[in-house]
Amino acid sequence: MNSIRKVFGTAVGKKCGMALTGVFLFLFVVGHMVGNLQVFLGQYAINHYAQLLQSNTGVLWSLRICLAAVALTHIYFAITLTLENRAKREVGYEVKELVGASLASRTMFISGSVIFGFIVYHLLHFTTGTTNPEFMTFKDERGWHDVYRMVQTGFSNGWVVAAYVVGVGALGLHLSNGLRAFCQSLGWRFETYASRIDRAAVIVAVVLFVGFAIVPLALFLGGAK
């Protein structure tokens, strides 16, 4: 064991890689949720926030490149670990009771794949406007990109709302296990507060799910004016 490469080559090292990249993505997601919630402060607030981000091209692109690199590393570790792990049991069981394992912990790869698919759709929908090119032409009276009108129009379609709720639902499920696994993999989930960490992970995941899902749902049901 004499190099960084060897350390990150071990199963424990790869899980550390998952944890470190995962927590970066988690922090981004928290920031994203707080940003989204400004839609409830009205048109000016959300459009001003979007304008602030978009005018700082340097910061915006540095963040985007970092995020993409971290997300790809997370996915790389996830695929390698999943493939390795699947090859470790050649003959399966006739019956298998899933004792002790939560749904979220057993389906990390599936929920992660759903999130990935959702992110691709979300980027095409609201960032590049590939699915709805008219979104990019919306301007408010200040000449800023009218994000408020864009999300209002976007979330008037029930199918789009359903896709977003499923996407952020997968995110909540993923994080309910991901956050405790993050503490576990980095060696912080000591016995004294193990159960508190597990509970906190679920609470944070639920808060994030509600924080994200409330925007499309409220706009669809006409709650935000």
Partner: protein, 254 residues
Amino acid sequence: MKVTVRVWRQKNAKTPGRFVEYEVADASPDMSFFEMLDVLNERITKQGEEPIAFDSDCREGICGACSCVINGEAHGPEKKVTTCQTYMRSFQDGQVIIVEPFRAKAFPLIKDLVVDRSAFDRIIQAGGFISVNTGSAPEANTVPLPKYHSDLAMDAASCIGCGACVAACKNTSASLFVAAKVSHLNLLPQGKPEKDPRVLGMVQAMDEAGFGSCTVTGSCEAVCPKGIPISFISRMNYDFIAAALKLRVHGRRV
């Protein structure tokens, strides 16, 4: 009570195996699971067939020899017991009991329900030695040790190395076993000097032996006959990271 035992029969690693059903009409609820298999084997032997091969030694739940996945659960339906401490009263009259060997690439099958768990021995060997003075017993209280650490080390040391954690894990990860063995020595002053090389060596040996990684599902602690919690895996990760960050100990690479 009458039960049907559907058991995995496989002559050796090269011959393909299959499930064979046996009726056991005269089982008593007070029999242990293995006593029931003994009765069945007696009958099978008298019929001129090969008896069902299974591992068992102490039959009091402390040696870690017995294995078996019973109805999809390592060591059977009861919590915190080994297969030998599983009793027929845990099953219902007329029930079909499916008995399988521990399934993991790192535990190659030898015969019927017997698997080769020597991968665990290779991990233990990779852990190396501890520095203790032999000879007369040391003076009492000369080695300060917090009660909390001694309790934890004792909990970790209760691991009997049966391999149920590997059998239950969807990734066949041996993390709980390795974590228990690492923590048991790393928590004690006697194990401190070799702490770093121990954890690095054992984690590496775990990969080399062909075990998977930990996804924190918690299946292992649920089937562990000694109730060892997965927080020990976190402890092992902590020790591993601390050791890996040092990389060099006393001028030489560990």
